[in-house]
């Protein structure tokens, strides 16, 4: 009796918990945006392309601009009107002489803008397998000098690949994904994104290393007008369901006056993967250096988009180094992939999946129910016993 009843209660409880949790957790951030994509130039490109994605929300617009002229750059502009547009003076943009060739109209509606520039790919020889990037650096790859292919557009993703020389084998690719609603990517690290963020995946595929013990470092620059991304916070959290064995999240945020309000962010998990469809063993930790002030002028010179949009940019640079002491070198798989989210507002916050909540509720709830149920049953049984006289008269 007891086991069958318990089983039935268990099934009902699990179904109830799952259905209630689905609504609870999937409706976390239901803010949606409409996406429209435009690729410049309309004709054959001569020196690189500019991708413009317009994500329109209820009463605001987020403009994503992704450019392969010079160093690959992603620019986000957040405006408070849902009819703001981007105007590009293409000849001036190509000339890269003046700023103001890319404008967001109306100018007064701009709330916040931030840009990430991929400036350099560094390689060093890690002879002693200590992963200290202090010496033995080979000449750096300047990403502004790479030959970039045409952007490959599909759904709401754009893929861009480049190699150091025209006939070079091996490439560095970037893939931008813009989202209209909350969701989670399919491949590891399965970052949780909202409608206010875009995902950038960077991967090195087949680029020949210059030594057998090379490790790579990627240099990023964050550019902003008033408040560029300035500090990196590392958050620890207990849930590694979506990225097994990674319990940390790094966030590069811009918060004015060290306040609690976060205007814009870049978010990543400190892990890189050594194969395209990674398993747990292919994960390699990565570290970042402290953000440092850099010359805004040289950033302008290296990226057409920065030159076009910002008149007086402030640039802060950060190095992401892949691999730590004891990890296999780059030449074990000739592949490295790393993913980051770039967005405005506060970074998305992860939560437990319904399955975990369901198992815990069932696992803890059922013994308590059994205790209570059994206690009540015993009390009733005792009462029934004591209500009888015990001895029955013979006559």
């Amino acid at each position: 009796m007891a086991p069958a009843g318990t089983g039935g209660i268990f099934v009902i409880l699990v179904i109830f918990v799952f259905s209630s949790c689905e609504s609870l957790f999937s409706g976390g951030d239901s803010y949606k945006r409409e996406l429209t994509v435009k690729l410049y130039p309309n004709s054959t490109p001569s020196g690189g392309e500019l991708l413009h994605v317009r994500a329109v929300g209820g009463n605001d617009t987020l403009h994503f601009l992704f450019c392969s002229q010079g160093a690959p750059t992603l620019l986000l502009v957040h405006t408070n009107s849902n009819s703001s547009t981007v105007e590009v003076n293409w000849p001036e943009f190509l000339a890269r002489n003046t700023s103001g060739s890319l404008k967001v109209e109306p100018q007064s509606s701009i709330l916040y803008s931030t840009a990430i520039v991929f400036s350099q790919l560094l390689e060093y020889n890690d002879e002693n397998n200590t992963a200290e990037e202090k010496s033995n650096f080979f000449p750096a790859y300047e990403l502004k000098d790479f030959i970039w292919t045409r952007m490959n557009l599909s759904d709401s993703t754009a893929t861009l690949c480049g190699s150091p020389t025209r006939s070079g084998n091996g490439s560095l690719c970037l893939q931008l994904s813009v989202f209209g609603s909350e969701g989670r990517a399919d491949l590891w690290p399965r970052l949780l994104h909202s409608a206010n963020s875009s995902q950038l995946e960077v991967w090195l595929n087949g680029l020949p290393p210059r030594s057998n013990m090379s490790r790579f470092v990627l240099e990023l620059q964050a550019v902003g007008g008033a408040y560029p991304l300035s500090t990196v916070n590392v958050h620890q959290f207990i849930d590694d369901e979506y990225t097994p064995s990674i319990f940390q999240m790094s966030q590069w945020v811009s918060s004015p006056n060290n306040g609690s309000d976060v205007l814009g962010f870049a978010q990543w998990k400190p892990v890189a993967y050594r194969t395209p469809h990674a398993t747990l063993e292919d994960a390699t930790p990565c570290r970042n250096s402290d953000p440092q002030q850099q010359s805004g002028n040289s950033t302008s010179a290296s990226s057409a988009l920065i030159k076009a949009f910002y008149s007086d940019p402030a640039a802060i640079g950060l190095n992401v180094s892949f691999g730590i002491a004891g990890e296999p070198y780059y030449n074990s798989t000739m592949f490295l992939s790393w993913t980051m989210l770039v967005g405005v507002g506060s970074p998305p916050v992860d939560s437990f999946s319904p399955m975990v909540i369901g198992i815990l509720t069932a696992g803890l709830g059922i013994p308590i129910l059994l205790l209570l149920g059994g206690g009540v049953y015993v009390l009733i049984a005792k009462k029934r016993e004591s209500s009888g006289t015990g001895y029955e008269p013979i006559n």
Partner: protein, 462 residues
């Protein structure tokens, strides 16, 4: 390894100790306590090698995974293959020792299996063949559990009487010492071999495991010496060879009461949350708590370190107070708290692992004697054999599941899985309490009540 040492009721013939014909020096006189201390030392080291080598994979987890190119699921197969032969052998161990080999030859044969198994395991690593490593663990498993049966039989034969509990306690402590030493030393051994060989890799792993096999050779020597001393004692004292006295009749299974089945459920679901967790614990502590490999191994071994002194003390307390179900309940709750701490907080894992060590010892002291309370004596062998068999079955299956879970969903889901297993054990404890209360079987009596009841039954029988 299964807690064979914690359970024992005395089944044995009365042996008449006839004195030796001529005078021997104290240490050579088999009936003198000094000689028996010497025998005790060899008896304790008999199991040292197998316990040392059982947890070799856990101590070298990162190295095994990296050198042999494995994922966690394949790594946990090394533990699953140890448990598979013991699903069947738990029933056959007593039979093999009593009827087929005899205690002396049986011990030597099982020690040989342990030794050969570890050598095959090391050879598999050296030659970079993972299937050979799995085969080695299988052979190792054939010898390991049966060797524990033999060790206990020796103990009963030589130390029957008041000293037996002390001897069991010492054997258990030696076993735990072997596990602890393994956890803390093998990493160091590997690094030294890597320096000598020049690089890490499967060759280094093979050599390190071969060095570990040295402890098994040492245990084999102890088995040979014990066999010699036992034969000599038999000749001098004219006593019979030790027997386990177990009678296994599989048809008895249909007579098992509901309480016994609940005890089985507690046993299976509790131990699958302990041993597979320790088996892959090192990487968990490195990844989540940022421990160094040496620290991770140390915290992994704390369960065994605590169990060595705690088991005799807790056993004494449980014996004195009775109320076994209450103690089992406390142990299960404590383990659940420990796993939840490891899952949902970043608190120092030393706390959770120490709690785990104490609760694991407590459960062993309280759970295994309960079997003797609900099963008539002639079925005891079958009951214990069955309990060990399904425990090994559970360990084998869950070891594989643990590996798959870590690879696909990570450590939080793994810990939640362990919590779920403990919750099932908790449900069984609650069920056992009520079944026992309603049927009046007296599993939860205090020791005083039980003694009074036994006296009354004895008086009644006269």
């Amino acid at each position: 390894m299964a807690d064979f040492e914690e359970r024992r009721s005395l089944l044995g013939d009365e042996n008449e100790d006839r004195g030796p014909g001529r005078q021997l020096s104290a240490i050579c006189d088999p009936s003198h306590v000094l000689h028996r201390v010497v025998v005790l030392i060899f008896m304790c080291f008999l199991g040292f090698g197998s316990y040392f080598c059982y947890d070799n994979p856990a101590a070298l987890q990162t190295q095994v995974i990296q050198d042999m190119n494995l994922n966690t699921a394949e790594f946990m197969q090394l533990y699953a293959w140890y448990s598979w032969p013991n699903v069947v052998l738990c029933f056959l161990g007593g039979f093999l020792i009593d009827r087929v080999f005899g205690i002396r030859l049986g011990t030597i044969i099982f020690s040989l299996f342990v030794c050969v198994g570890q050598v095959i395991f090391a050879a598999g690593a050296w030659s970079n063949h993972f299937w050979l490593m799995e085969a080695g663990r299988f052979v190792f498993g054939i010898g390991g559990e049966s060797l524990a049966v033999a060790q206990n039989t020796y103990a009963v034969n030589w130390f029957k009487g008041k000293e037996l509990n002390l001897v069991f306690g010492l054997q258990l402590s030696m076993a735990r010492l072997g596990s602890t030493v393994n956890m803390n030393i093998m990493g160091w051994v590997y690094s030294k071999v890597a320096v000598a060989v020049g690089s890490s890799g499967h060759t280094t792993l093979g050599i390190s495991l071969m060095i570990a096999a040295g402890t098994c050779v040492f245990s084999l020597i102890c088995a040979l010496v014990l066999g010699f001393l036992d034969k000599r004692a038999e000749r001098i004292l004219h006593k019979e060879q030790g027997r386990t006295g177990e009678v296994i009749k599989l048809t008895d299974v249909k007579d098992f009461s509901l309480s016994l089945w609940l005890i089985f459920i507690i046993c299976v679901f509790y131990y699958v949350a302990i041993f597979p967790f320790i088996g892959q614990g090192q990487v968990f502590f490195i990844e989540k708590f940022n421990f160094s490999p040496a620290q991770a191994r140390a915290v992994n071994s704390i369960v065994y370190i605590i169990s060595a002194p705690a088991s005799p003390i807790l056993g004494f307390i449980v014996d004195k107070t009775g109320r076994n179900i209450g103690w089992v309940f406390a142990a299960v709750i404590a383990t659940l708290c420990a796993h939840m701490m490891l899952a949902f907080t970043f608190w120092n894992p030393w706390i959770a692992m120490s709690l785990l060590g104490v609760s694991y010892s407590l459960l062993a002291c309280a759970l295994w004697p309960m079997v003797a309370f609900v099963v008539p004596e002639h079925q005891l062998g079958t009951a214990y054999g069955f309990m060990q068999s399904i425990q090994n079955l559970g360990l084998a299956v869950i070891a594989i599941a643990v590996g798959v879970i870590v690879d696909i969903r990570g450590y939080l889901v793994l810990e939640v899985f362990f919590c779920a297993c403990i919750c099932i054990a908790l449900m069984a404890v609650v069920g056992l309490y009520f079944v026992d209360y309603l049927k009046g079987e007296g599993l939860n009596q205090s020791a005083a009540e039980r003694a009074k009841l036994q006296k009354e039954t004895a008086e009644h029988a006269e």
